[in-house]
Point group: D3
Chain length 165, copies 6
Amino acid sequence: MSSPSTETPVLSHLDESGQVRMVDVSGKQPSQRTAIAEGRIRMSPAAYRLLSSQDNAKGEVLNTARVAGVLAAKRCAELIPLCHSLPLSFAGIDFLPDDTTHSITITATCRSDYKTGVEMEAMTACSVAALTIYDMCKAADKGIVLENIRLRYKSGGKSGEWRND
Amino acid sequence: MSSPSTETPVLSHLDESGQVRMVDVSGKQPSQRTAIAEGRIRMSPAAYRLLSSQDNAKGEVLNTARVAGVLAAKRCAELIPLCHSLPLSFAGIDFLPDDTTHSITITATCRSDYKTGVEMEAMTACSVAALTIYDMCKAADKGIVLENIRLRYKSGGKSGEWRND
Amino acid sequence: MSSPSTETPVLSHLDESGQVRMVDVSGKQPSQRTAIAEGRIRMSPAAYRLLSSQDNAKGEVLNTARVAGVLAAKRCAELIPLCHSLPLSFAGIDFLPDDTTHSITITATCRSDYKTGVEMEAMTACSVAALTIYDMCKAADKGIVLENIRLRYKSGGKSGEWRND
Amino acid sequence: MSSPSTETPVLSHLDESGQVRMVDVSGKQPSQRTAIAEGRIRMSPAAYRLLSSQDNAKGEVLNTARVAGVLAAKRCAELIPLCHSLPLSFAGIDFLPDDTTHSITITATCRSDYKTGVEMEAMTACSVAALTIYDMCKAADKGIVLENIRLRYKSGGKSGEWRND
Amino acid sequence: MSSPSTETPVLSHLDESGQVRMVDVSGKQPSQRTAIAEGRIRMSPAAYRLLSSQDNAKGEVLNTARVAGVLAAKRCAELIPLCHSLPLSFAGIDFLPDDTTHSITITATCRSDYKTGVEMEAMTACSVAALTIYDMCKAADKGIVLENIRLRYKSGGKSGEWRND
Amino acid sequence: MSSPSTETPVLSHLDESGQVRMVDVSGKQPSQRTAIAEGRIRMSPAAYRLLSSQDNAKGEVLNTARVAGVLAAKRCAELIPLCHSLPLSFAGIDFLPDDTTHSITITATCRSDYKTGVEMEAMTACSVAALTIYDMCKAADKGIVLENIRLRYKSGGKSGEWRND
């Protein structure tokens, strides 16, 4: 599914003795990094209808989820133990509601010009935005599902561009 | 998919004017609450093999994810805007690796004896545990997918028991 | 300005030797507590017009500020050193724009049934909501002013009801 | 009140469709940035007298507020949703008590050499320092008012120096 | 060194399969809990003299350390993975400088009326207060040592009173 | 005990009037910084035996402590008031159990290429890792002691290399 890669497939967060460790990026050069993560939240037709029937409602719910996602992107390194803390130059969340599948596709884009990638920031922002929608719609449907959260795109750093379409 | 419910399907986090608001639980009675969320993280056969080949590796990765999930459960109200902060009496994460689908099923269980449910705590713990596994295995497979994160079980409170099998 | 009070006017956060200390509430009984804080953010006519000209713009900005205020209420004890951490049963933010003074009045309401008052939670929520509006409008007017942030109402606890009109 | 500016007065945190977004600073150059915010906390003569009568008391209260303000400056991006997280090179709080108006003027200075301004860090530090004083003096006067919190000075970045006297 | 105990010596945070888990306190009754931790920070005579020569200096440094310790007590469950988050009814820090050994003894006292002990809150508060003193004195002596941080006293809960003199 | 130093022994965090302040690093150049802190946790023979008897148990406890220490390193500036927030390029924790003294030596290494040293990050990581071990073993021995937490090594910046053996 992913494009061919020349990277050695290793678990970079384990040291020789098999114990977890942060990757040391002291020797890395900063470069422009972008990562895009995507996921989908699918709800019952009734819940989706409730959310969509009032324009304001949808706007408020999605804005709340967007704010939560952006805040989570900035706090990613507090949540994901071996992630580097870094200054993000951008974190944005987009929503694409789909009336036929009563689902919303969530896209999170993060950028930094620091020494490590921002995949985790994008994945975390996407997940927390989805969780926030779940929270606000769960009174109408507890069975809402977060589906298919994954990295879509990544650029910058030694490994260059990567796409997952 | 979910069991029949007598609750009115409304978006409880919107007020009459359609603006977001926290639910006021001042009048609610405390009760024993449990929520169980489940999700799955699916990776390439190669990444799964790397993770599984050393017993220690898998133990370290899963323990790190477990710790991250438990910590996230406790900080859920910082991430999910309209979630109530509350003392959890328990937060636990279990992993069930499946060699045939090269995936790991993650189950998060949260308990509280406060006035609101702990669904969001369980959903958040499950998601952050999955994100942590993603982080630690992404060097071997950037295309790892978080699938099907959803509530499995809930008990306590006015609405009683709910299952989603 | 405030209603007469029978409380002894002391600085409760200083001990006998004049050093700061948290108030020990071990012996206090829980009771229903409410606190309402109010403040105003005043901007230039041009900035206010920009904010008001698009309905969506105002909704998005105020919702973002509301979310920030609610999140800040829940994290008040992390910011205000001698404040007790406690579970809030409610935190809500209301906005009242005033076209003639090109200002917005912000009201923050917090509730808890714990052993201490929630004045600081309401004051903090109000301030952070105002700061968030400042942030989002500062490109149009850096000179925006936060005015008159103060407690309006308080009930519960030994000292009972208090109003500041 | 503010000095003339050549910036286009727009709400930089809204995109074309009127939805909130973080400003993308990927293309910006780092530069030395300073921001100074100022506010005033005004209390009843009795409360002010209590605070001032013991030198130690005032020192302890103001030091506690200073510490809270500095810590808040560093965590500004967690509180203000669309603010960039960045490393501060300095955060400082100064207090100027005024016996005649029984008020204390609070000045917060922040510096960074990153790509965005630090206005929000200074405004947040000033507000949290004021809130901390409120917290510690509210037993003597619940009606204490936070007045006139605003940006006083800003330098660095494309828009250069700005004063608000 | 510790008083005899009838508790079974087990590692309560490991489950049957040897994996870490939070203790489930769902079935426990709340009770008044107190814990006192103690530690010592020992510095070079020169650094101690610098700290002590100005009364104000010592007051400011110790107040800053006290504030940091109290804040850390409240955030203990964010730092210590398997610790329960709970509302503290009190957190206090005391300092006892000793001129002959140029050291300062730090005592942290925490109280709660929740279902679990507050040992970790007291231990964390004591450690962070000590680290804060280290930070502020390290320019004069990088070799400052944190010594002998341990629990001194504990009461409440099923195991009752415990002393470590 | 420490190597001779040409630095003036001053309390760098106090200004001329004796009040605490953050050091202004605006004018400093970034350089590669490393700091290593070390501490020891000593427990009763019985507790140490429990921890050591199952290989898995020790691995799980130490991994949990390692994760907690790394997370604490990244959040150091939230805990230590006058510490600068900065991006760490590495944070790692090592454990050296000693069967004869039934103690574990904890070493924390931090790196950054920012403008200030990372001593506090290393000291905090070491302390929180030790506290986490305490938490997980306290059911077997409440009297566990954290001993001798101190800086071992530091390099980078104007003052260059420093050792404390």
